[in-house]
Amino acid sequence: MAINTGDTAWMLVSTALVLLMTPGLALFYGGQVRARSALNMIMMSFVSMGVVGVIWVIYGYSMTFGKDLGSGLLGDPTEFIGLSALLSEDALFGGIPTILFAAFQAMFAVITVALISGAVADRMKFGAWVLFAGIWVTLVYFPIAHWVFDFDGGESDPGGWIANDLAAIDFAGGTAVHINAGVAALALVLVLGKRVGFGSKPFKPHNLTMVMLGAALLWFGWFGFNAGSAVGSNYLASVTFFNTIVATGAGMLAWLLVEKIRDGHSTTLGAASGIVAGLVAITPACSSVTPVGAMLVGAISSILSAYAIGLKYKFGYDDSLDVVGVHLVSGLAGSLLVGVFASSAAPAGVDGLLYGGGTDQLIKQAIACAAVIGYCFIVTFLLGKILDKTIGIRVKREEEIAGVDLVYHAESAYELGGVFKGGR
């Protein structure tokens, strides 16, 4: 098969779009914390672009897309070390150069790690985060990405068990990315503990215009994430693209409505949250539902998330920026709703419960979710505990109160006045 310049053009763009999601997330998260820890929040995302990017070149791509070591559980970490093996005009993945596919998938690993950081805002040691990022992506992300994203017939046949043996539908990463990040967030905050003031102080976002900008960049970049997962500029990409528009819009409206009814007013942060919930939910589902189905998936998941974010107060885990409430809950909802709203009119060609397809697909979806949740939770929790016992992952109380920006980065996000304030 020869290179297709149209497919390649779209995948170049998609990769750039997914790269942009991580800074977008940095702003989305950074705007939500207090001004005194905004930079630290942003840095957690940015640094994962470096750490995960470098690891990807060395052994990450191999662990994910290398020859399966058996039972679809893991790729061979040594197969493509350094990625020079992909440097050839003939190394094609479908109609695009394999090195481009490797670039596209690298961005998925980066953002998944970055997503977790929202839960640990204000109180995790920066060095510990860097270490966690590098180990977590290795122990948790690469294996799970292999399960979900490595289809048989790729460059290293056979691939992962969820994609091939189970044949669950996870078009762009509801399980490997969102459920995964959400569960990791939960496990990590259970180790880390609550912020000083959790439950009694409001912790309102310090810059909501930045949150909205971040949400917008996420939406924009998500077209690369979802429609780029078609690995070509074709009918499949077009449908997933369309669904990514309308599920998101519906998710936003649904969240605003919940707030209006429950609280009496619709908030900006609610709009941003609804957007992300819609995006998360449609990620696994965008290839298998109709536009109307997409709107329902987005809206239902968003409503579930809008209520789920309150659980942290009830159960007392401090998931600062609602990574669990949004990514885990909407990721789960979207993955399971594939089994309900999938319609054979959509490109995936599968009928869900509602369209007479029975519970078959729903069960597959549930198994995939359960596997990711179980594996991720156990490994992340253990990793967190080990790091905490060895290097310690939590900042000191005074540092947290003074603000991690000054303490860990010697900076303040803003110096807006004419009078410069320094020091700590």
Binding site: S200, P202, K204, E259, D263, T267, G270, I309, G310
Partner: protein, 112 residues
């Protein structure tokens, strides 16, 4: 010489400023502050969770005035800034030893 300090609601500021000017006040110094008082102490809902309201945005005015003018100025502020609702603010006066105008070095009443 007296220093009049007034804490008022931000929404009343423009009208107070205009009223003071109309009453002959030539200068003042304004800052943005937060106030705790009776107005706070209630609970608000945000994203489904309740949290207590403590501090509320206020504007602080500082006006240097001769003793005899102070009463009138306070009256103008109270009249203009009052909306009859809790949190309208306070006005207080403190004695001033001396005032100097930076530009000229003039002091006392001539400096205002």
């Amino acid at each position: 010489m007296l220093l009049i300090t007034a804490i008022i609601k931000p929404g009343a500021f423009e009208e107070v400023k205009d009223a003071l000017r109309a009453a002959g006040v030539k200068g003042m110094t304004v800052s943005e502050v937060s106030g705790m008082g009776r107005q706070g102490g209630h609970v608000e809902v945000y994203r489904g969770a309740e949290y207590p309201i403590d501090l509320i945005s206020k504007v602080r005015l500082e006006i240097l005035a001769e003793d005899k003018e102070a009463k009138g100025i306070i009256n103008v502020i109270v009249k203009t800034a009052s909306t009859n609702s809790i949190g309208d603010g306070k006005v207080w006066t403190t004695p001033v030893h001396d005032v100097v105008r930076v530009r000229t070095g003039e002091s006392g009443e001539a400096a205002i």
